[in-house]
Point group: C2
Amino acid sequence: MIKSVGLSKIYRLLNHGPTILVSSSFNGKQNIMAAAWNMPLDFDPPKICVVIDKNTYTRELIEASGTFAINVPCVAQVDLVTKLGSYSGRELQGTDKFAENNLQTFAAKHIAAPLLAGCVAWLECKIIPEPHNQNTYDLFIAEVLAAYADERVFSDAHWHFEGHDELRTIHHVAGGAFFAAGAALTATL
Amino acid sequence: MIKSVGLSKIYRLLNHGPTILVSSSFNGKQNIMAAAWNMPLDFDPPKICVVIDKNTYTRELIEASGTFAINVPCVAQVDLVTKLGSYSGRELQGTDKFAENNLQTFAAKHIAAPLLAGCVAWLECKIIPEPHNQNTYDLFIAEVLAAYADERVFSDAHWHFEGHDELRTIHHVAGGAFFAAGAALTATL
């Protein structure tokens, strides 16, 4: 079951550094790409940062729409995430990455970007326009309007992956090499 | 043994989303704090982003010096990281967090901030002044001048934690709860 995450706890979906998929939609076109460079930026209202290269098709769609979705993928999707990060949706003629990869999606509430089924969390994001950051650093700042998580692995504002190794978040290093979120540790202070 | 990391590979030290310690020094004062909100921003010259709250003592020292170090801590340091993230060095009289916690450090090459022994990677950072980002979002952009890693777990530009569980990077969720970097996964494309 997918459940809504309270605004003040949304940062916890990204706090541990997962690689994400950014989905986008504008004027009937849609795309999805991988993005390792992301982080929370504020608690409430929740804000996030993500780096989206100038050359990407995603960049074109999110600047046109002003919105995008963050999808937090999991171990079961390592090959898919790597594939989605390895080519541009702009190259596709008469189709898109969703159709080409038989991806199941569901609708967001506040934005047009589709949410990818099989992920473990989703954030609906609205860009806070910062042209200098976007143009100089490919850096986008966005407010998170709503977020959801798979309650099998995220509930009561905490991740709990025990018994669900296929649903652990994935953390990209380079070239298709990732670490899964591993042992849970709690400081004993 | 600690070895230098080539400039174009430095992003890989942060790409998988570890929580970091930010160390700083100015005019004889020094401090160290935890920061989960960080990410790579560019490859070469390498740049990074980090969020440093206005109220922190670190903020005062890094704005005065224009530099800071990122220390990438590991499983063995979970309690220390949580402690260093739980109080301000500004409260201390006649001592600092390093002395109070008996921390061993070694010198950076390009900046004054001390590097914390026992971590698994270190990045020497010089702030690229962006007053709007700093004032509005507590967001700092920095160029990385040099970086080093413990070759037991990072060499040939890749992390390899097998056999060194105590040296795995740690990824904070909230309130002293972390995940260790877990199983290594490689996409089969």
